[in-house]
């Protein structure tokens, strides 16, 4: 059975190494600052063994966008949800985790394609499903 890691414990550990990165820790969900996503993810991968990025997605909450990472550790069979919140609707940027997990490649491109979130450091940030020049980002709530 995959056990969900207690996020507050992880938050404490992260805070001792990199203070000020974690915004919130409820249940197994760790919410971090957008700029710190890559650092925290790297730390999680290196120290807690989260080697499997199961799912990466974004949600449009109108006031903010939420990027959700479902991390899984195959060795210790643990899971953790990493979230980050992007304020505003234009010029959204979040560091890419593709250098850490290759599996994020297509998922980040998909999020860029459908939500318009730029992933800094992604090697090939191009729309995945829609063609270049498609007007708007379809999965946003204001796209009709």
């Amino acid at each position: 059975m995959t056990t969900a890691v207690v996020a507050s414990d992880v938050a404490q550990q992260v805070n001792t190494v990199m203070p000020g990165r974690v915004l919130e820790a409820t249940g197994s969900t760790l919410v971090v600052r957008p700029v710190a996503v890559f650092e925290v993810a790297r730390w999680l991968k290196a120290n807690l063994g989260f080697d499997f990025l199961e799912c990466l997605t974004a949600v449009d909450y109108l006031q903010h966008f939420e990027v959700v990472y479902y991390l899984l550790s195959l060795s210790s069979n643990q899971s953790l949800v990493l979230k980050t919140r992007l304020q505003g609707r234009e010029g959204l940027q979040v560091p890419s985790v593709t250098p850490l997990w290759q599996g994020a490649d297509f998922q980040e491109r998909e999020a860029y394609d459908l939500f318009g979130i730029q992933f800094d450091g992604h090697p090939f940030m191009k729309r995945l499903f829609l063609w270049e020049g498609f007007p708007g980002y379809p999965l946003r709530k204001d796209f009709l």
Partner: protein, 372 residues
């Protein structure tokens, strides 16, 4: 004239394989740069089957979305249904009766057999046994689909599962016919193995081809037979048992080298394990209701839920966000086919043109699921 280049300057040929190509399993397009017959670069171009299922789901009620999930991986619709209804149940706290769990497991395992049969058939098709093996595979798949038709009324787009159980109990003739099928199938699997496993040409074409090392497979979030072919015994049915799976005995077949041949072997072995699970499920089948009563318009509490199952092609996840409305606020699928494709470029570069098709076939993607 004196400074003529004495070496022949060649430039790579750009070949668009797909979207209309006999062996791109739908509308996949590979933009291949070729140096002679050798591939020097490859870029997958997706989106030819993009129907915006995730956007459509935001305008449908929770029950209506079940009909959309059928259309993601249209070769394995039952598992799509299952992942979705499990996410809804997780989100709204609906309990599922025991019998419904067993029915779901039976359906999911039959679906795995049907999907793997098609994967093997098309894999051999890509290798060049034009249509022979696929017709054999379809013969067996038809029998599985007959069972599905018996229970759910349709052969491809089942819409059989509902939040809280399954739509209708199994018909009385289902179990006897399933038992008969369970007795027949191993013989057919033996036949495939006789046809394929030792065939020198198949071995020469697929062994050591498209080798995906275990660490790379994990890093690329590969799942399903692709990951297990690389030797990682990761199966959500064991790692994170859901539904009635904790009650069944089965093994996780793994490969050793991570090549195309191993992926094929893992698929055949998985079908045999599915038969084992089905056998146990039929024996233990409890009686009782097949569905808890749920309202027609489900209004889950606000929040999000992520449910994942082991679909035939890998880890199929569904991420649902609710805003207490009657339709999902956000419906996201983690499509195993799309994410297994991540490493395709690395596997293909440096191979021959013919191998490119074989590697792609060994990954077994479904374009309906890739593009959604």
């Amino acid at each position: 004239m004196s400074q003529q280049q004495n070496e022949l300057v060649t430039e790579p040929v750009i070949l668009n394989m797909g979207p209309h190509h006999p062996s791109t399993h739908g509308v996949f397009r590979m933009r291949v740069a070729l140096d002679g017959e050798t591939i020097v670069d490859m870029e997958p171009v997706l989106g030819y089957l993009h129907r915006g299922i995730e956007k459509l789901a935001e305008a449908k009620t929770y029950v209506q979305v079940v009909t959309l999930t059928d259309r993601q991986d249209y070769v394995a619709a039952m598992t799509n249904n299952m992942a979705y209804v499990m996410a809804v149940e997780k989100l709204s706290g609906i309990k599922v009766p025991e019998r419904a769990e067993y029915i779901r497991v039976i359906m999911a395992e039959l679906m795995r057999i049907a999907s793997h049969l098609m994967a093997i058939g098309f894999f051999l098709n890509d290798l060049g046994v034009f249509q022979t093996v696929i017709v054999y595979c379809f013969r067996e798949r038809e029998k599985v689909l007959d069972l599905f038709e018996m229970a759910s009324g349709q052969r491809i787009n089942f819409s059989y599962m509902r939040p809280g159980g399954v739509i209708q109990d199994l018909p009385p003739q289902f179990i006897p016919q399933l038992k008969q099928l369970l007795a027949e199938l191993p013989g057919y699997f033996d036949e495939y193995e006789q046809l394929i496993n030792e065939n020198e040409i198949v071995l020469a074409r697929t062994k050591e081809l498209g080798v995906l090392p275990a660490d790379k497979a994990i890093n690329a979030s590969a799942s399903g037979p692709v990951l297990r072919g690389s030797g990682v015994a990761f199966d959500l049915r064991k790692a994170d048992p859901y539904s009635a799976y904790p009650r069944f005995q089965f093994d996780i077949p793994t490969g050793t080298r991570g090549d195309a041949y191993d992926r094929y072997l893992v698929r055949v072995a998985e079908m045999r394990q599915s038969l084992r699970i089905l056998q146990q499920a039929v024996e233990q089948m409890p009686t009782g209701p097949h569905r808890t009563r749920t309202p027609w318009l489900i209004r889950p509490p606000a929040g999000d839920a992520y449910a994942h199952i082991e679909s035939p092609k890998g880890v199929l996840g569904v991420y649902l966000v609710s805003d207490t409305g009657i339709s999902p606020y956000r419906y996201k699928v983690r499509p195993p086919s799309l994410i297994n494709l991540t490493t395709l470029r690395d596997l293909v570069v440096g191979c021959k043109l013919a191998d490119c098709i074989v590697i792609f076939g060994s990954i077994d993607v479904n374009m309906g699921e890739v593009d959604r």
